[in-house]
Symmetry: C2
């Protein structure tokens, strides 16, 4: 896997690095493209294992994986989404409300597998290495598990959609999740007709992709300058213009 002959480092070979970037750039939040075909259990197991290999603060591994297969349970979750989505619509200014209403924001009933990923904040006791000063770190660990699963799913040809338009307590009620367990993500998972080339909200004109070079500072918030950062920004502009991260030369060997 590591190209030790051609590159004196622990870097993956060219093709393998490209595969990782391909998963990252072609991953989509899928709402409309789910197919009804069953997801093989062996494949679902790989996705859960990818999630289980996420980093976690103090190695506490605070996640659980609640696999939803039952139509009756999906119906309850969908009902909770509908309530929250009606409330959400009313919050948007007029110019956005029609567009919001036209968007399909979930595939709860279409996706053969739904999956709740949670965070058990008491998993390894009250004091957690690395969480002593940043109390949200355990929640962030479960988010990393979501992202691992999402990228693995893309590589396996499965779409994933993250639905967040719920009252937390309604989602807990629908799934029997205790009050002290935090639902992090409710995911819809299944095979798809296709992966869009753009994120759905970019394609719909909701918001544009931001120029990445405008988001980068050096050494201090708001500070853009520095000769090395200028070189970095040029590379970023070139990558953003190309629309891909994959077509890259092997990096220069470390000096």
């Amino acid at each position: 896997m590591e190209s030790s002959d051609t590159y004196p480092s622990h870097a993956f070979c060219d093709a393998d690095r490209r595969a990782v970037y391909q998963a990252i750039t072609t991953r989509r939040d899928v709402r409309s493209e789910f197919l009804p075909q069953a997801v093989p259990e062996a494949l679902l197991a790989r996705l859960l294992m990818a999630a289980h290999h996420a980093p976690s603060v103090g190695f506490m591994q605070p996640w659980n994986f609640l696999v939803v297969r039952s139509d009756a349970v999906k119906q309850k979750v969908h009902a909770a989404f509908k309530v929250a989505n009606e409330e959400a619509k009313a919050l948007f200014p007029d110019r956005q409300r029609d567009l919001y209403s036209s968007l399909k924001l979930q595939g709860i009933l279409d996706a053969p597998i739904n999956l709740a990923i949670t965070c058990d904040r008491s998993r390894s006791g009250p004091v957690v290495l690395g969480r002593t000063h940043m109390p949200s770190m355990d929640l962030y660990s479960s988010v990393c598990a979501v992202q691992n699963l999402w990228l693995a799913a893309r590589a396996e040809g499965l779409g994933v959609g993250w639905v967040s338009i719920f009252h937390e307590t309604a989602l807990q009620d629908a799934l029997g999740i205790p009050a002290e367990i935090v639902p992090i993500a409710y995911l819809c998972i299944g095979y798809v007709s296709h992966f869009d080339t753009q994120p759905a909200l970019e394609k719909a004109g909701w918001l544009p992709r931001l120029p990445v070079e405008e988001l980068v500072f050096q050494d201090r918030w708001g500070h853009l300058n520095g000769a090395q950062n200028q070189e970095l920004l040029e590379h970023l502009r070139a990558l953003q213009a190309s629309g891909t991260i994959s077509d890259m030369p092997l990096p220069a060997a470390p000096q």
Copy 2:
């Protein structure tokens, strides 16, 4: 990239799926193994672009990337770590305190690049699609950016360590980050002497890796049963025993 001849789906080919799983399973939180060699700017640009391709709630892309190159700034951040780490030590019970004290928990001064990834909660206005009912979703988007970068770094042969032992305000002060911008992750990035085969805290005997099959429920919290879940759990046990996700057969084609 997609193996359309052999597999009627959008799955990556075998080698490419293996590369994605390899990044996921061999990624480590690096503290002690950093080398001083410079990170090429073109490579750093790819990592930032990987982060910029993270999912974000309502496509708000709430992240900024503050690249820290200055030794003086790293010293300030390191001082903030030392204060918090002394406080953290005192919180652990006796049986854990000695082990805690023996662990190296950061490579701030060793890593050539430090990087703060933040969340600007006001990035796209007060009402954000998908954040209306789960207000932490924007923070989670920035966490997904961290995990994308971390996996890309592993593929590029770079180690990443996430340091979270800071008072939030001390980190903001050291980097000039405004009070309303949330620091999500402070990362140390550089080439490494090696990647450990196990997570550092597992290797040190801090906590064991949990059996993944004990973390999986079906349809309702606490509910383990169901014939399909039995099959899933068997696959999970086999994967966990093998210690890898990579040596997998191609999944059966969808029915």
